[in-house]
Amino acid sequence: MTKLTALVIKWVLIALALAGVLWVATQLAIAGYTMAVIVAGMLGIGILAVYGTRRNVPLKYLLPGMLLLVAFQLWPIIFTASLSLTNYGDGHLISKEETVTDIIAQSVREVPDSPRYRMSVATKEGASATTGDLVLLLTKPDDTMFVGDTGGLEPLPADGVEKTTTGKITKAPGYTILTAREVNARSKDLSALAVPTGDGGGIKPVGLSEAFEGKPSVTYDASADRLTDSSTTPPTVFEPKNARWVSTADPSVAFPQGWQENVGFANFTRIFTDETLRAGFVKIFIWNVVFAVVSVLSTFLLGMLIALLFNDPRLKGKAIYRSLLILPYALPGFITALVWRGMFNQDYGLINGALGLNVDWLGSPWGAKAAILITNLWLGFPYMFIVCTGALQSIPRDVREAAIIDGANAFRTLRSIIMPLLLVAVGPLLIASFAFNFNNFGLIYLLTKGGPFDGNDTSIGSSDLLITYAYRLAFSGSAPNYGFAAAVSVVIFIIVALMTIPAFRQTKALEEVN
């Protein structure tokens, strides 16, 4: 390849990358994310600076990896951490201003005994259908006709007016009646339009051909920052408190719509001060560690033993056995977990049935833990078996022969020769497996959903991992609270990080064997 072609290819690739960035930036600009557009612009400049010049050779290799690291590792961590300082969750998704407009809009009730009008939406003749002021042509049930706009209601002379059998006006001199599509395009203007009828009420459209007289019962006093609901006697006054509108008279009365706000470290304070949470957190943490450690060790030991067995040259038909052993790994784990759940059923399950037992596997704390570990052993050992088989086959035969010549028996060879060599290869995988099992959400959720729940309380389950616990708080708990769940996730992240660092140091020590 000549220098010229290389140069052309290089600049074409750079141009493509920049075009990609430009496209993303345009999309972001349309969506209105100013900060993200700036970041995308800086990314484009960065690409040009690193790949367009001859300098920064190491960066040429590192940049893609670094970008992915930022996008998929750092950004989620930062996002979660910032979320953990808010009250973001159901009932706290919108801004305070939105709650005010929303509460007022939703308090509109039909004025009792008011008529329903047949309605057509029109503009004054000659005005534009897309921008002209809207008027409502209304027919009362007694066939009297009106024109309504923001100024109020006026009678419509019957001359030249055409109506359908239901009373909807289809033609009126001096007005252009809009088509369904034209009306729909003005939905925003239409929802803001209420023909005033006195005493604060207004005629508002319902769909394309009906209107009703409604009146909001809630008013907002911006200077005092209070909402007043006049539908009760006496009127109820609501003040902002804990990101919600709470009645000043009775704090148990509040509007359901709350707003999002920063709560500082309140979520973290709650984790460490709430008695149930703190006790539960310790309990869950201990089981979480036990679960991850036992899962890794049991799967590793079983996998390694089978691998050692199949590594023996005297065994016939290895290919068939090996394929069969990999089966549990090849089946989707979700299906396997559900099948095991059925097998652990106390009355109808295969396990109690076949063994003649009556163990309440999924309903007692110890039974549930045992069931989870057994299922995870079944799910996990084929992986360890594959990994160990590969590692064993890479151990040179002469090392083992030397051990035999030196008079080592089989156990001694395994302990002093094979294990250290095996662990060099498998060690980091064990740590990865530990980290995976530490957050093994799917298994727990499909088998026990974190249960059984003892002690007359359903916040902390006997087989909950930190991650299932956080999930329940965030998505399926009493009041989904993303802010609090994010705080729990941050704590889990710190714990896993603190536990993994020494483990990785340990694997470095193993490498010294070489």
Binding site: D90, G91, L93, I94, E98, T99, D102, A105, Q106, S107, V108, R109, E110, R116, T179, A180, R181, V183, N184, R186, S187, K188, S191, P205, V206, G207, L208, S209, E210, F212, S231, S252, P256, Q257, G258, L338, R341, G342, N345, Q346, D347, Y348, L362, G363, K449, G451, P452, F453, D454, N456, D457, T458, S459, F475, S476, G477, S478, A479, P480, N481
Partner: protein, 438 residues
């Protein structure tokens, strides 16, 4: 997907399993299929998503409706008619998890104009300001079953148009039990006799599960005066500050659960995975379940009957929760006018309600449609009568705090881990604490 905790999820799960029996098998039409040139209407085929991702809103149509796969065809048919009548384009998109996907998409301004869903989503939708009030005129509203209209209201405001009502009832095997029992005692006696004769393996199949199921346990409480979950306010709303979970009536209901649990009539080992199978393999002559179980029983060739839930000794009839299916309009709808028009003017039509009945086989919410269906379909009549005394499932957000703790409490009572009074008191305390936190 949230919320509604375990009991709720489990119930929805069963319903979803039943509903989605053919979900995903809908032939995938091309979303870029050109609309017929003559009339600017849609293509008559709902857009199917790939995988479980939320549908992508088409910005070029005049009305976007999200629904699940099963209802999509019926909705599409009338959406097309609506489109032709008004000279607009309508797109029906299949959403695999409407509740969650609607919330997420609406938050970023990509949500649909109309969704089809259950009435107990309402509290959460109002809380998050994603749903708009619906103003049905009084005479249209009066054409619906009163309970169905009640279910569309929250805090006195109405938020949707209902089209179907569903509830649980007693399914019995006619080959073993010619006449359905009127009382629980009768049911137990009949069932135990059958077990003794070797004609059945157990008396009753009811979804309990290890974590409990509030939806199926509630009727045992509601059979007693002041038994239930929340008290009802003067305006018809449930009052989140007045818990009935440990009222004297509820505790009596708990004692019935404990007694049935002790006799192994109810068992925490029956759950969503085996409930239907026990009835369909004729192991249990009775099952407490809903319309979603009918198709499977039919397929298994069981000669089933449907009856109201039995009454309990010392109380009255067990009253199930009613679930109401309805159309909502998004508060952030880009096409608010057409959305309002479609929901207020089309959904109350009898032929629309009948078409939606054909897909779900739940009793229609419009009286005229129900009368027509009930005359020819005895199952529908039986389901409706089984729910005649029922109250709509609470749609207040506080209900999210109830499913988990209350469900677990009933499971613990049935398994004998705890006595009814202690356990229901504890559940009430936990629920109240959760509501206060929310």
């Amino acid at each position: 997907m949230h919320k509604r905790a375990f009991g709720g999820v489990a119930v929805m799960g069963v319903a979803a399993l039943a509903l989605s029996a053919c979900g995903g098998s809908t032939p995938t039409p091309s979303s870029t299929q050109p609309a017929p040139a003559a009339s600017e209407t849609t293509t008559g085929v709902p857009e199917t998503p790939t995988g479980t991702a939320a549908p992508v809103r088409d910005a070029n149509v005049d009305l976007v409706i999200w629904t699940d796969a099963d209802r999509s065809k019926a909705v599409q048919k009338y959406a097309d008619e609506f489109a032709a009548e008004n000279g607009v384009t309508v797109k029906v998109q299949i959403s695999t998890d409407t509740r969650a996907q609607f919330k997420d998409a609406t938050k970023v301004g990509k949500g649909p104009d109309v969704i089809v869903g259950a009435h107990d989503w309402l509290g959460e939708l109002v809380q998050n300001s994603t749903v708009a009030p619906i103003n049905l005129s009084a005479d249209v509203a009066s054409q619906f079953l009163p309970n169905a209209i009640a279910a569309t209201k929250f805090n006195g405001q109405s938020y949707g148009v209902p089209y179907a009502v569903e509830n649980i009832g007693l399914m019995y095997n006619k080959d073993l039990v010619p006449n359905p029992p009127k009382t629980m005692d009768e049911l137990v006696a009949t069932g135990e006799q059958l077990v003794k004769e070797g004609k059945a393996k157990q008396v009753l199949s009811q979804f309990v599960s290890k974590t409990g199921n509030a939806y199926f346990a509630y009727p045992y409480l509601s059979a007693f005066p002041d038994g239930g979950i929340f008290a009802v306010k003067d305006n018809g709303d449930y009052d989140p500050n007045k818990l009935l979970v440990n009222s004297p009536g509820s505790i009596k209901g708990g004692e019935v659960l404990a007694a049935l649990g002790k006799k192994k009539i109810l068992s925490t080992n029956v759950d969503d995975t085996n409930q239907d199978a026990l009835f369909d393999t004729k192991a249990a002559p009775f099952m407490i379940s809903g319309p979603w179980s009918v198709a499977k029983a039919k397929e298994a060739g069981v000669n089933y009957g449907i009856a109201p839930l039995p009454s309990l000794a010392g109380g009255g009839a067990m009253k199930p929760f009613l679930g109401v299916q309805m159309f909502y309009v998004s508060s952030k709808a880009k096409n608010a006018t057409l959305a309002q028009e479609f929901v207020t003017n089309y959904i109350p039509r009898k032929e629309v309600q009948l078409a939606l009945f054909e897909v779900g086989k739940r009793p229609p919410a419009l009286k005229a449609a129900y009368d027509e269906v009930a005359a020819s379909d005895p199952d529908v009549k039986a389901w409706y009568e089984a729910g005649a005394d029922g109250l709509p499932m609470p749609n207040i957000p506080a209900m999210n705090s109830v499913w988990g703790p209350f469900g677990q409490a009933t499971a613990d009572i049935i398994s004998g881990k705890s006595d009814p009074k202690t356990r229901l008191d504890a559940a009430a305390k936990e629920i109240a604490a959760n509501i206060a936190k929310g």
